[in-house]
Symmetry: C2
Subunit: 341 residues, 2 copies
DNA sequence: CATATGCGGGACATTTAATGTCCCTTAGAC
DNA sequence: GTCTAAGGGACATTAAATGTCCCGCATATG
């Protein structure tokens, strides 16, 4: 198959470009349907008339339908969208990009999802889907899944296909701390993921930015103690990678503290820890949950990141643990290659 | 692989068209190199400027080279041309066309070569190549190959790769009769084919249109007798299909005789026999060689035809023998489908 | 029920790419 | 030397893609 793609790209160099453009439109209709030309054009960032021209082709192929409510992807179109992702993956030769990154970052397994999150926010959904499928392959009966918060993790849970192949799955948040947005809190993500997998969940209600005394008190609560023990038994850990500055702001850390952390060279955040470019811990948020030592002992670890601003964070965290899977979008993947070069 | 092609054709319906156009240009350069734009444009039947636009792409892809002598296909381009034939075959879904014909004509095996001979004379070379490869798979040590004359058969011999995998191959003309063009006489074809296969040959020197007395005399010649015996032992028979009227003219049969044959409904000619639409013999040219009974007893039979005017001939001859392989170009294949419909 | 919003589609100007046409210089062939 | 056919440049012409605007219509909202 690879050979055929090479052949096609040789004789028809424009292939990738056209296909990606058309796929992009189809996918964006799918994620926004029913949607009008103008709305779509603004979203994708191409001319309205271009949409019309391309959509005409897609309609003739019975991939989209047009009605007064807006454009909709047909059943056939949905199947195509799904298959097309993998195809574009091959076409863009992302396999070699993956291996290159595995080598550069010295990480066991890297998955790159076609498209750039910075150009198309819906790439997040694709990354979520890919991640969810990756996690599913790791799962066994009676496993404990630990997951963190963030919009990326929310999508991972959201895109997980609803089916309970495995019995007695337990989903727990990997670490305390809430964040502003309820939807993407670790607790909420854990609940959603558990529902999708037909498993159970336990939650951890610990606010951000506690002082030492409050923390000591909270740790004494039986439910918290139970969860601390469960966290040490996590079989599959799924965590989101964060840009240090952005995460510090979001966690409502005081400004002078943020300044201090950044001066220490923090570029990455993950499960409440802050790291510099070399992957050295420079600060830890005061909450309960997965420790850095725990992290290194977990067998199945999946890190997910989306967007070019996460490039440095990915580089930093990749030196923490060799034996994990990192999933990211094509945009940040290429950005990383640029940086390390 | 099939699924991927379907996918591509769905999302990019123009694919086949563009690819075929470009392939056509590349192939025609290959068969005529070094060649100029104008010459090529006349040959293919498209605008000179179109050639230039397309060739620019091909040159950027390092598939053709341009120098003051004309355009040439690079080494890489040659490989591409070769692979592309099969690819276009899949792309056009000629497999299903083949099965359809096998069913309609009730023939064991049919091979369709992409492209129409009536639009591009160089398709004959492709048909020749496909035929030669097909024959090669049938061959075993010590086999006797019988072959007829005609421009198609000449190409079959010409396109046979020069290598002697099998030992002690003997090539003989299947039937007497010379025709106007020396190059494509059965004798000459047999010699060329034998050379390509590293085998030996024996020839049959019998003119066209003999009267009975002359024929009786000739049959007494020891060499002719020997060949008649060898013909009965043919392992692999390769023959060209002819349009009855055209062949009759070419064999210099008297006009009144031609008229008679055609009035009997003759549409097809093969190894000196003339058949009506139903495959019934209506006339036999007076010469020595393979008889119709011999034909039906040969184990491996390959019939080759090129061009839409052979459509009826193919239909007629397909009812002669179920167990054979027919090779033709796409143009006549589709013509046949039209006729039987 | 009236209003506002966003939809598809038509129409037309504009831009861009593809194509048609012609001529020039040059390198082999005879 | 002459002639032919080559590639390449230049420019007009055509076709396609795109930008821009407006219209009538359905639906949601108040």
């Amino acid at each position: 198959m690879d050979e055929i793609l090479e052949l096609q790209k040789k004789i028809l160099p424009e292939l990738t470009e056209i296909l990606e453009k058309r796929y992009n439109i189809l996918r964006n209709i799918y994620y926004n349907q029913p949607v009008g030309r103008r709305t779509l054009a603004n979203k994708i960032g191409i001319g309205e008339r271009v949409i019309r021209t391309e959509v005409n082709v897609l309609r003739e192929q019975n991939l989209v339908e047009i009605n007064p409510l807006g454009m909709t992807v047909t059943d056939e179109g949905q199947i195509i969208v799904d298959k097309l992702k993998d195809f574009i993956h091959s076409l863009k030769d992302l396999k070699s990009l993956e291996s290159k990154l595995e080598k550069v970052l010295n990480i066991k397994k890297i998955l790159v999802v076609p498209g750039s999150f910075d150009e198309d926010e819906y790439i997040l959904k694709d990354v979520g889907k890919t991640s969810s499928l990756c996690i599913k392959t790791m799962l066994k009966d009676n496993n404990i899944i630990g997951i963190t918060g963030g919009s990326t993790m929310a999508q991972v849970a959201n895109e997980m296909p609803k089916q309970d192949i495995h019995s007695n799955i337990l989903v727990i948040p990997a670490r305390g701390g809430l964040g502003k947005n309820f939807e993407s809190q670790a607790n909420n993500v854990a609940v959603n993921l558990a529902k999708k997998l037909g498993g159970s969940y336990k939650l951890l209600h610990v606010p951000d930015s506690l002082d030492k005394e409050a923390l000591d008190t909270i740790i004494q609560i039986p439910e918290v103690k139970e969860l601390k023990n469960l966290i040490k038994k996590i079989d599959v850990l799924v965590f989101g990678l964060g840009n240090a500055e952005e995460m510090a702001n979001r966690r409502m850390i005081p400004d002078d503290k943020i300044k201090e952390i950044l001066e220490k060279g923090a570029v990455a955040e993950a499960f409440g820890y802050y790291f510099n470019t070399k992957g050295e811990q420079v600060w830890e948020s005061s909450t309960v949950g997965l420790s850095l030592d725990d992290f290194k002992k977990v067998k199945n670890v999946v890190g997910v990141a989306c967007g070019k601003k996460k490039a440095e964070a990915i580089i930093a965290i990749s030196s923490l643990k060799k034996d994990m899977t990192l999933i990211m979008d094509e945009g940040v993947a290429r950005e990383i290659i640029e940086i390390v070069k």
